[in-house]
Amino acid sequence: MHIVVPVKLVPDLVEELVIDPSGTALDPDTVRLQLNEFDGHAIEQAILLKERGGGHVTVLAPDLEGVDDVLYTAAAKGADRLIKLCDSFGQAVNNHAMARAVAEVIKPLQPDLVLTGVQSHSDLDGSMGPLLAGYLGLPYVGYVAGVTIGAGHATVRKEYPGGLAAELDVVLPAVLGIQAADQPPRYVAFSRIRQAMKTATIEEQTVAMLDTGGGPAVARMYKPEVAARATMLDGKPDEVADKLVALFREMGVL
């Protein structure tokens, strides 16, 4: 079982977000990147599958600030192969471009399973999983929270809105969008990460031209602006309730 996990690095929202002078992107000098949370679950799911049934886990990440820490941490958790995708991954890179580039790297690896985080907060042009599945010509199931490997297929638990879940069989190889791993991502002691920094190797692969075609062009990026659209109802609770009912009637809700 060869599992490939392509991950995204996304802006860390703990740090202040600054828009760069172009007004269409974040300022690259102040943004701090981190592993997309759902991709952390995809890595965990891959390692859980390896621990249960054996296998080989490859983690791919674009060469951006903090990428080495992300890859070495994955190695400390149990990933076998680390690949850094080298090119000028500027702010302009969208998921279409990433998916095309990643697909070219993944094809020769001939994986049985590709696990991606189901979404990320920096997705502007759809999530990575379906795009990647499209370029690889593989089936895709998203919103997956639970994976069991069978003979030539995987049984996955897919979550739907409204508290519904379904079990689906998907023929391998396939791409899955992981919503949550079977278990929360594990903690890895810092001594293990340091050990991985000494023993694991990060391979570098140069990707061909990044083609952003198919994604939207950002016309303007801005922080939420304050607008006075809310009306505050004053008075005693009974009065407020009456006003509210009157308003609902007026709007045709009641």
């Binding site: 703990v14 740090e15 903690y187 002691a189 810092f190 990460i193 340091r194 050990q195 023993t199």
Partner: protein, 401 residues
């Protein structure tokens, strides 16, 4: 893949037992009498599967793997109560319990709340998960302004290590501002590291994360080595413990004092500034890492007694028998876990004691305590009138701040 190599029970017990000998005084574990005093004095000993004495018994029976399978070792708040009462002075807190937590952590047996705090520390350099760039934001508005070493580029007398909670916690930031005002009033020549400071890491170390502690120590060591100062002063007893007892072993050696020691030495200059009466019955809570672990008992009391109007009263548990607030050894980040196991809060026990001696104010000297005890005053019936104040806040108040 670097998982723990499965070891036979006997081998694991033996290698763990041997590792205890590497700690200062660790060989004394051989002299354990199995008197059980440690188990009895431990604030959570009654619900631990393996309180210290029983853990030693499990080691001797070569059944240590059972210790790492249980999760109640995480109830240890590293308060030094067991180490204090051990008749043969076995380093139970610094050695046995901390080493056991290291093994639990490596085995992946770790409460999720603790995991979050440790991951935050790895990424942001503080367990609260706050932006490292905002570490000095608490000092905005303090006048004269708080000097940041990277901007000052001049030698100072005192390098003030502010610590995580003093830098970020909304209840403790005012304590830092109060201390800055006291320093300014005394014309102390001081500076802080600001964004170059990271967590001292001591509580992470006591929660089993030695590697993370060493990484943090190296970062602080590098930051400190750029500047000239005569001593480090800190408001955080955990940072104090790290600088005094742990960093020197990693080659980071500076004289360090808790701010209460630093100010007690300046009582003559301080006293004339304390013009406003604080008419209150005040009781003082000895923080584990200032008191029991490091023997500083009198300086905080001297400062409180110097405040006009203060009547200082002692709680039954004081000095070496002080009660833990529940925040040590990673407890600060495991409130939910502790509650799930114990259905009590150690901080409530302390607040009830303060009420019993008729205190109006519970005075503290550790950044974990103001938030913990203040929370407890909200849940202990009738404790709403008890005021929790750091000594620095009381001094600033007496100065008319």
């Amino acid at each position: 893949m670097m998982a723990t190599v499965p070891q036979s029970s006997a081998t694991f017990s033996k290698s763990f037992y041997a590792s205890l000998h590497e700690i200062s005084g660790g060989e004394k574990v051989r002299t354990c009498l199995q008197c059980g005093t440690c188990n009895g004095v431990c604030p959570f000993g009654y619900l631990m599967d393996y309180p210290p004495g029983k853990m030693i018994a499990a080691l001797r029976a070569q059944r240590f793997e059972r210790v790492t399978e249980a999760d109640t070792v995480w109830m240890c708040v590293s308060c030094y109560a067991c180490s204090q009462v051990c008749p043969v002075r076995i380093p139970l807190t610094a050695g046995l319990m901390t080493r056991a937590k290291e093994e639990l952590l490596l085995a992946g047996n770790i409460p999720s709340e603790l995991q979050i705090a440790l991951e935050n520390t790895q990424r942001y350099g503080n367990p609260l998960g706050e932006s490292p760039r905002k570490r000095a934001d608490w000092a905005k508005g303090v006048k004269p302004r708080v000097p940041i070493m990277s901007e000052e580029r001049r030698p100072v007398d005192v390098l003030w290590f502010v610590g995580d909670y003093g830098s970020y916690h909304p209840r403790v930031q005012p304590v830092s501002r109060a201390l800055a005002n006291v320093f300014n009033a005394l014309h102390v020549d001081f500076g802080i590291l600001g964004a170059e400071e990271v967590s001292d890491g001591d509580s992470q170390r006591l929660a089993g994360e030695r590697g993370l502690f060493e990484m943090l120590a190296a970062k602080n060591g590098r930051a400190l080595s750029q500047y000239e100062f005569k001593e480090i002063v800190t408001g955080d007893p955990h940072a104090y413990n790290a600088f005094k007892n742990e960093y020197p072993r990693l080659g980071i050696s500076y004289p360090v004092r808790h701010y209460t020691e630093f100010l007690a030495e300046r009582l003559d200059a301080l006293k004339p500034l304390l013009k406003h009466e604080v008419n209150a019955r005040v009781t003082y809570h000895d923080p584990c890492y200032l008191g029991r672990a490091n023997g500083v008992f009198e300086a905080p009391r001297q400062l409180l007694s110097a405040i006009p109007g203060v009547e200082l009263v002692e709680m039954p548990h004081n000095r070496t028998t002080s009660l833990c607030c529940g925040g040590g050894g990673g407890g600060m980040w495991m409130d939910g876990f502790q509650w799930e196991k114990a259905h009590i809060r150690l901080s409530e026990w302390r607040v009830r004691e303060a009420m019993k001696v008729g205190a109006d104010i519970l005075a503290v000297a550790c950044p974990y305590e103001a938030p913990r005890f203040e929370d407890a005053t909200k849940t202990v019936p009738g404790a709403g009138r008890l005021i929790v104040r750091d000594i620095a806040e009381l001094l600033a108040e007496a100065m008319g701040d």
